[in-house]
């Protein structure tokens, strides 16, 4: 590795990390036992490490909690757009691919350095959210969860690897507060139908109305903010979204 001043992985003009040095496979097996540290419980999540300017290490017990989770955040495009839209909200991206997580980490620290005072509310963690979500968030802690362009896993044998599935929705309902919103979008029609039907048949979720969708400023970011979304738009592809609210079940 060369010295810092001529580090080729950082772009000289923007100071941001260059993507081509963080090439990774497009898919990762969520079923494999990867070895990375996992917090024992939500109170073991080190907030001062993720948000050093907003949470100092001596006030760990402050009631400022992560409220948005971008599951499978990829290269972090959505997080960065949301960061300035909701500057007071702590949010975290969760990504299974190690190299991609490294890229997002570098990207955030570069943005923090070039825009003092900004981008302090976003961070990223390498984890398997399908296994360890309850280790990061307590009951009803989140107000928004994002699942943008997840791996479609076409084969029926691999449907249990899909990040939106009937049983995993129980865990998402647990970490979401009542009224919290789950956003999903994909460019694969089959997966779009699957995600929609999983959410529609789950007793703890209800679809947002067209009026509500129109009023939500986050909706248009779904297809424009992420790298995947931009790629789909460039190729003139279609997208399918499903946006649902966490409700109290009717007894």
């Amino acid at each position: 590795m060369l010295e810092n001043e001529s580090n080729p992985t950082i772009s000289k003009s923007t100071g941001l990390p260059r993507k081509r040095f963080y090439r990774a496979r497009a898919h990762s097996n969520p079923l494999s036992d990867s070895h990375f540290p996992v917090p024992i419980s939500p109170c073991h999540v080190d907030y001062s490490f993720h948000y050093p300017q907003l949470v100092s290490s001596d006030q760990v017990d402050s009631n400022k909690k992560i409220q948005f989770a971008d599951v499978g955040c990829g290269f972090g495009g959505l997080l960065i757009s949301l960061s300035t839209l909701f500057p007071e909200t702590l949010m975290i991206g969760m990504e299974l691919r190690d190299k991609v997580t490294e890229y997002v980490k570098e990207r955030i620290s570069a943005l923090r350095a070039t825009n003092p005072g900004q981008y302090q509310n976003i961070s990223v963690v390498r984890t398997n959210s399908m296994k360890y979500l309850p280790n990061y968030f307590g009951k009803g802690q989140l107000s928004k969860m994002f699942f943008l362009f997840p791996d479609p896993h076409f084969k029926e044998k691999n449907h249990r690897r899909r990040v939106i599935s009937p049983h995993l929705l129980d865990e998402y309902a647990y970490v979401l507060e009542i009224g919290g919103i789950i956003y999903t979008i994909t460019d694969v029609e089959e997966l779009g139908e699957w995600m929609n039907s999983c959410l529609a048949s789950h007793p703890l979720f209800e679809a947002l109305t067209v009026v509500e969708l129109g009023a939500d400023p986050v909706i248009k970011l779904l297809s424009t903010a992420t790298e995947e979304g931009q790629k789909v738009a460039r190729n003139g592809g279609q997208t399918f979204q499903a946006v649902y609210r966490r409700i109290v079940p009717s007894q």
Binding site: I40, K131, P134, D170, A173, H202
Partner: protein
């Protein structure tokens, strides 16, 4: 790199063994022991062995039994095995009243407090529910289908337990998690509402039990784990109330032990509806007795009850709800390098008295074989033979320990071993 060593690790699957299990009828009418594919039941009231009747199959199970349990009202016994069958037996007729096929191997079973639902978990982390309505009075054999209830994402579920009030179902897995789910009114539609996660264990959770007294009818959860601790939980909030380092305490009390990391808690048993917990620990010859003070919500070690005379390390514990006996079994299926291919040894600890929990431990005695209810007849039925050679015990304990570690602890590979394994993957599709 040493290829042979890598191979040896993979071949361990062939000698996968199952620990012997014991379960006691809630009114101590009978006692059941499972070793390998054998289900042995002794009728304590009648003083004789029980012959099971199953019109559908012979033998009843074709592979190692992994879970047995009586229902709270004592009318049912459920057995589940690696042959992917869950069998429900009537304890009146000892007939198999229902046989349920599972898609995967079964790891744990539980029966709802009202005896109307049987739940079982498979090795892929899914908990299934079987509806037993209509079973009343109808003793004919019915093949039933199970419906998915809930799932831990691709993790082996190690233990399932209903809360004493029947409101929650609790499931524990090898990923250190305990999940508390509201047991719904219509379980066949799935259980979607998670009450809490009890997080704090740092290794696989091996066993669960509820402590429930007159003062605290909602009950508190106790869990044992591969991290050598027993922990006390409030399930409504998921709060960890107390941790008892039983591994360290066992080592302390038994000063002649030096090796560490082998003090996995293998089973827990609540004695006398009350505040006493018997703990079986791998490599502890005997059991550890804990007292749970529910007013201060603490766990304290009372004493280690050693079993003299033979190397008896229990693999499973059982007790009825009111009797003053603790039943213990040790053993394995398929013991390699021995002439008898399975081993089971039953011991009983007596002297638990409800009146004075403070003085507990003084009157405890390990019953001699001839003092047991049913004496030789019972041992012949449950153990298969009256006497067992001493050298078999340690081999059995070692086999159980290895099997449990292989099953539940994540394997750590060095970088080069990992590369080697990637090259020799066996999950590629074979063209037919």
């Amino acid at each position: 790199m040493d290829d042979t060593q890598v191979e040896a690790g993979d071949n361990n699957r062939d000698i996968e063994v199952a620990p012997a299990l014991i379960s006691v009828h809630p009114n101590q009418n009978s006692v059941a022991v499972a070793v390998g594919s054998d289900l042995r039941i002794f009728d304590l009231r009648g003083g004789c062995g029980v012959s099971l009747v199953d019109d559908s199959a012979q033998p009843f199970h074709k592979d190692s039994i992994r879970a047995i349990r009586y229902s709270a009202n004592g009318k049912l016994l459920v057995s589940a095995a690696d042959d992917k069958l869950v069998k429900i037996w009537s304890t009146d007729s000892w007939r198999c009243v229902s046989s349920v096929c599972s898609e995967k191997r079964v790891s744990a079973v539980a029966i709802s407090e009202d005896g109307l639902y049987v739940c079982f978990s498979d090795k892929f982390g899914v908990v299934w529910v079987v509806d037993l309505h209509e079973l009343e009075g109808n003793e004919s054999l019915v093949s039933r289908k199970a419906a998915p209830l809930l799932a831990h994402y691709c993790s082996i579920i190690t233990s399932l337990e209903f809360s004493p009030d029947g409101q929650f179902i609790v499931s524990a897995d090898r990923d250190f998690k305990i999940r508390v789910t509201v047991f719904p009114k219509k379980p066949l539609d799935g259980a979607h509402e998670i009450q809490s996660f009890c997080l704090g264990h740092t290794e696989f959770v091996s066993c669960l039990a509820f402590i429930c007294t007159m003062d605290y009818p909602q009950g508190f959860l106790v869990s044992g784990s591969g991290d050598s601790t027993v922990r006390l939980w409030d399930i409504t909030s998921g709060f960890l109330l107390d941790t008892c380092e039983v591994g360290a305490k066992a080592g302390l009390l038994e000063s002649n032990r030096s090796d560490e990391g082998c003090s996995t808690v293998s089973d827990l048993c609540i004695i006398l509806d009350g505040n006493l917990i018997a703990v079986a620990i791998q490599s502890l010859q005997g059991i550890m007795l804990l007292h749970c003070d529910l007013s201060s919500r603490t766990l304290n070690v009372i004493k280690v009850v050693s079993i003299m005379g033979e190397s008896f390390i229990p693999t499973s514990l059982g007790s009825s709800s009111h009797a003053e006996l603790l039943w213990m079994v040790t053993g394995v299926s398929k013991l390699s390098g021995s002439d008898c291919n399975s081993l089971a040894r039953v011991r009983v600890l007596s002297g638990f008295k409800k009146s004075n929990p403070d003085s507990v431990g003084h009157e405890l005695t390990v019953m001699r074989d001839d003092e047991l209810p049913g004496a030789e007849k019972l041992l012949e039925k449950l153990q298969g033979s009256v006497s067992i050679e001493e050298n078999v015990f340690l081999a059995a304990a070692e086999a159980v320990k290895t099997a449990m570690c292989n099953l539940l602890i994540k394997k750590q590979y060095s970088m080069e071993k990992r590369e080697f394994r990637k090259r020799s993957r066996n999950d590629r599709k074979i063209k037919q």
